[in-house]
Each structure stands twice: as C-alpha cells, then as structure tokens.
Symmetry: C2
Subunit: 378 residues, 2 copies
C-alpha cells in the first residue's frame, strides 16, 4: 500500500475507499431498515465516483448545495436532484435550463416572497417547478416554524400558482453540537415529529404534500423511528471526520478522508514538527474547537494511517503546518519525524478539507491509487 | 457599475481593480523609497493579471508558496521565482525540471538534513541550485535562530557542496498579532536587524551571502529603515482584508476583495438575513476572532461596496451565511434586505477567501467586469 501512496506529491487528499464503502453501506442499510429512501448530500464529496458508489448502494437520487453540483450530476445521467438551499430568484433561469434538458430538479423555499417569485417565473415560462418548503426544526438556520402562519400561505401560493408542491423538508443542523446518544435520539425525534406535523398541517389545509424529507448525518444515524418520513438526506457520513467522531457517531476506523503531508522542518526547542500541509490543505475549519476534544487543525497519523496518540496539527499557516506532541518529553522529534518523512492528517471537517483539493487520491484495499477529480466553485 | 455586477451569479469573488492598483503602487513606492527590491508573494492572488500588474509596477520577480505557483508563473514568462517554503526532498525532482527549462527558481531550507539532501541531489544531477537559508526572527514558525550553531553548518554544507548560497530570508509572521504603529515598527526593525546580522555572521565565516530578504505586509508597511536588506516579500497587501484593517495598516477604502452574495431568506424573530455566501465562499477563516474587532465571517456592504455599519456575517454553513445587525431594533430586515437583493462581504483573510473561487470577477473603474482565473491546488 505504501508503495503507491509513496509516489504521491504532498499535500494530497487521500480517500480510503474500503472505509468509504463501509460508510455508504452502513447508512444505506440503516435507511433500508427504517423504511425510508436515502438521498445523499453530494456537497461533501462533489466527486462522481463517490456519488456513483452511493447510488449503486441504493440511494434514490442526490441532494445538492449548488446548481453547479446539479449540472455536474445531471451531465452524468443523474436526473433526480434536490437543490436543498432556498432558491434565489436570480437562479431560476439556470434551474429552468436544467429542467428543460430533462433534469428532475427540485427547488426549495421558506418564504412567501420567494414562493411568489417562483410562481411568477414558472408561469411566465410555462414551467411547473417541483418545490419543497423548508421547515425549521431546531432554530439552527433557515426554514419556517411549524406554527408560522406563512407556512400555509406558501403552500397555497405554490399550489394555486400551478407549481408542484412536493413536500416539506428540514435539517437538524444543531445535531453537530451534541455528543450523547440520548440527546441525538431526542433531536432526531424532534426533527421527524416537526416535519411530519408540518406536512399534516399542509395536507389538512387541502394542499398536496406527498413527501417528508429530513436529515443530518448525526440524526440519521441516531433515529429509532422514522414514521411519516419518506426521505433522508445526509452528507458527511460518506467520509466522516473528527467533528463527527466527537459527536460520537463514528469510530476512528471509519474516518475515510485524510491529508498526506511531508515533514519539511523542526523547531526542536519548541517540540514542533513543520509539515507542508497548512490551512490551504486542511482548510481553516476549527470545528472541534468547542467540542469535548479539540483536535486543533487535525489528528496526526502515520503514513499508513495509524493514529499517533497526542500528536495534533496545532497550528497552520497557508502552506505550513505545525505538529506538536501532547507529551513530547524525551522524544527526539528530528529522529521520530525526519525531514522528508510522511504523515497523514485527519481533518476536523471533511466537507471543508475536501474543497481545498482539485482531486482526491482514492486508495483501494490493495493500495492502488486512482485520481478522482472533484468540483470547485459555483 | 451595478449594471455589470448585476449580471453575475452569486456567490462571486469581486476584485476592485482601482483599489488593487492603488495598493500595488503604495507598496512599490514605499519599497522604492526605502531602496529595496519588492518580490510580491503571489500566494494571495494566484492570478496572472494581478501578478502582471505587480511586475509592471516594478516588482523584481515573484515569491511562491507552492511549486505549482512557480510553474504557473514560469509558463507565463516569469523566470525569477523564489519558492519561500522549506523544500521537501521529494520535491527536488520537480524543482530540477523547472530549472532545466530555464526557470531561475530559488529554494529555501532551515535544516542541515534538508541542506544535505539538496546537495546530494544537486551533485547527482549536476545542478547548482540557488538556495536561501531561513532565519527565525520572531518565534513564529520556521527558520534557524541567529545564534544557532547549525546556521554556519548549513551555509558550509551548501557552499562546499557546490550550491549557490544566495542569502538569508525571514518572515515576521507574528506581525499579524500587533495593532499599533510602535509595535509594528519595532518588529520591523527586529526582522531587519536579525536577518542582516545572520547574513553578517555567514559572511564573516567566509561564505557568500549576497542577499537579505525579509517581509510581511505589516512590517513592510511599517519599517522606517531597511539598511542591509536587498529584497522585501509581501503578499496580502495587494487586496488587504479585515485582519490587516485590524492590524491598522490599511483603510476601509483599500480593501479590494469582496464576495458578492444574494439574500435568500430571513429569520425575522432573530433578526437574521440568510445569504447564499456561507463558509464555502468566505472560507472558514476567523482571523479577526482574537483581534480588537471581531468581524465574524465578514463585514457586510451594499452591492456597490458601501460598508453597512454593524452588519456582520455572524454565522456560516457551507452555502448559507447568516447576516445580523448589531443594532437591529426597529429595522424591518425583510424590507431593508429583500429576497433577491445583493450584498458584498469583505473577508477576514483575502488569501483564504480567494482560494475558494476558481476565478475573480475584476471590476474596473467604469464598472466593466472581466473574468480572471486563478490557481487551485498543488
């Protein structure tokens, strides 16, 4: 395995394919057992071989965070695409173009103004857009409250305006702040319950609402019951990361993304090892900063991926990383980590770290390495 | 001006070209007055039209943070390139290829082991590499102490090994933590003094050391005297950003990079405006977090670039930003920032934010917009 990884320039983003495939199976099997469809969020990988592996395992379609991701998937024959960010009216032209080419693109809104803009644009272009309404289940970010009087108004505007009201969706983004199974189960139930109730409210008012979509990786892996839910969206489970490890929903051996780096210097007096992976490679994400365990800019592993306990990337400049050992006493760091030797660093946040790279180096069970390109920008 | 910006999809990275040209002139004139060459660090922009503007204004060559930047510049006829990150032995093959094609690439080291690796590789390939020695002037990151006994050893290994010892360099990276002219002037003098003394030490030992290269944007703009220095390196001055504004070395009207975004929602009860620029657009950089003024993920401006006092991007998810007003009382945010309206957000850190985009939209004095592609990855 090292023979192939050894040929890579650093820094490089390494995907451990057997771990990724395990993660994909784990989530799909769980959703199958709970009787719901899985619609992976491709914003994590933005990478076709990863997305194809998710679809091959049983995913019903994809969730995207940008219209560029939608175009990328559709160009590869993936038609069932949910753009799960509230649509800006200025993006409707692009959405229309995708639909006219045959993409079954769904849009999202959580406001009357945007609903009216969708209807006006749809009527002008004789297009019956598929639209979902976003519900706020935890005060995290976007969405309408279950009790908000706008909820039924948005449903009415869309339905009476000739759009296809597909359903309601929510995202329990605050699950990233939790770290006990009990709290995660409770939030998963809250996410399910509020979204199912929002659908019921719309149906009782006489509007169609066939679908109920919920999801975040932590709640998807914690929910005990998904009654009334038709689809689950989740993204980061495909690679997992240190934030998810702190949340408590993955083990170290499930972390599938790491950054390969080379030792380029030492500051012996300080116990620092300098690497060629700084924040440009790791991203500036410090998601573990306020969690139970702060991993700095990442957990340091050997070149073959073995966790080096107490070795963290404690500092990062653009192309310099600083590795420090929690217990450096007695260790000769220049002998332990010589110039030119290699390490692998597990990131705080797989979505942010992946985005720093034009491609992944995908390593299979035999150590073979393939280059997988990924999307950048909008 | 708005007519052209109005046609852009969001999020988009906007470069205000007149501001950029002003910043380039400001730094070049200062270096000219102090009698030193300027070698801009292109890691900030990674963008050819920006680099060409710096060279046209009088820069002597470029500083790069990756060999990909070196290749990019050399492919466009820029030959004088200083790779200012300590070389990993595994990258010497790539460096050799560049030099064999005619690139005057300089390398950097701060260790005996790397110096020996350079010599061994150079001798094997009959290549007399140009090499600089890195000095630590402030304990910030890399470099040898002035008093370190390795300093003369590295000089000896390189010189006697047949390499071209070009000089010494240092970077006062801790200048980013300061915010008074007095402290900045003192650090600039410390940076100059230590690096000039390191050169003297090497010369007195009988080795050549013609060049003394120092620099960071804050110290370059604060130094009163650069006696003994031959070159200054600086990067972020070309765009500046909120971190530099907090350091006190630029004015608001000199901030040349911003992110154009669209309002996609509101949470009225919380006073939140939701935008389509989240951390994927702004980066996760929170460089102002520990400065005198914390700008969250960025300072919010109108579409035409006017600073909206007290409006910050206080939260960011991947493709969602949360704008909050410090004094929201009485403001109807849905009327003030309607769905579909546009804002511009000044970033904490121009290097990190720029890297999130495949290209800049460069806006000239007449409001014309040009697409400037930029480099991504390694």
């Amino acid at each position: 395995m090292s023979a192939s990884i050894a040929s890579l320039d650093t820094p490089a983003a390494i995907v451990d394919v057997p771990r990724m495939q395990h993660n994909i199976r784990r989530m799909q099997q769980r959703m199958d057992a709970l009787g719901v469809r899985l619609r992976p969020h491709v914003k994590t990988s933005k990478c076709l071989p990863v997305i194809k592996a998710q679809l091959a395992a049983g995913a019903c379609g994809v969730t995207v965070s940008t219209l560029k991701e939608a175009q990328y998937c559709f160009a590869e024959g993936i038609c069932d695409v949910f753009y799960a960010v509230a649509i800006a009216p200025g993006k409707l032209t692009q959405a229309l173009q995708l639909r006219r080419k045959g993409c079954q693109l769904s849009l999202l809104t959580d406001s009357l103004d945007a609903a009216r803009a969708i209807v006006a644009f749809g009527q002008r272009h004789n297009e019956r857009f598929d639209v979902w309404i976003e519900i706020d289940c935890d005060g995290h970010r976007s969405g309408l409250d279950l009790e908000d009087h706008s909820l039924l108004e948005v449903a009415r505007v869309l339905s009476e305006g000739g759009m296809q009201l597909r359903g309601v969706m929510t995202h329990a983004g605050s699950s990233y702040e939790l770290d006990t199974p009990e709290a995660l189960q409770a939030l998963a139930e809250q996410e399910r319950n509020l979204c199912v109730n929002a659908a019921q409210r719309i149906r009782q008012a006489g509007f169609p609402c066939p679908e109920v979509s919920i999801g975040s990786t932590p709640t998807a892996l914690s929910a005990l019951n998904l009654e009334g839910v038709t689809e689950v969206r989740a993204g980061v489970y495909v690679f997992f990361d240190l934030v998810m490890h702190n949340v408590g929903i993955c083990q170290a051996h499930e972390l599938a993304l790491s950054v390969l780096t080379t030792v380029i210097g030492h500051q012996k007096d300080k116990g620092w090892v300098i690497t060629d992976a700084g924040w440009m490679a790791m991203s500036r994400d410090r998601g573990t900063q306020r969690q139970q365990r702060d991993f700095g800019y990442g957990q340091v592993c050997t070149e073959t991926g073995d966790w080096i306990e107490g070795a963290l990337l404690t500092g990062a400049n653009q192309e310099h990383g600083i590795v420090a050992l929690e217990t450096a006493g007695g260790v000769d760091i220049t002998a332990r980590f010589p110039i030119g030797s290699r390490l692998r660093i597990l990131p705080n946040h797989a979505c942010a770290t992946g985005a720093q790279f034009p491609d992944y180096h995908a390593v299979d069970a035999e150590g073979g390495v393939q280059l997988w390109s990924r999307l950048h920008g909008w």
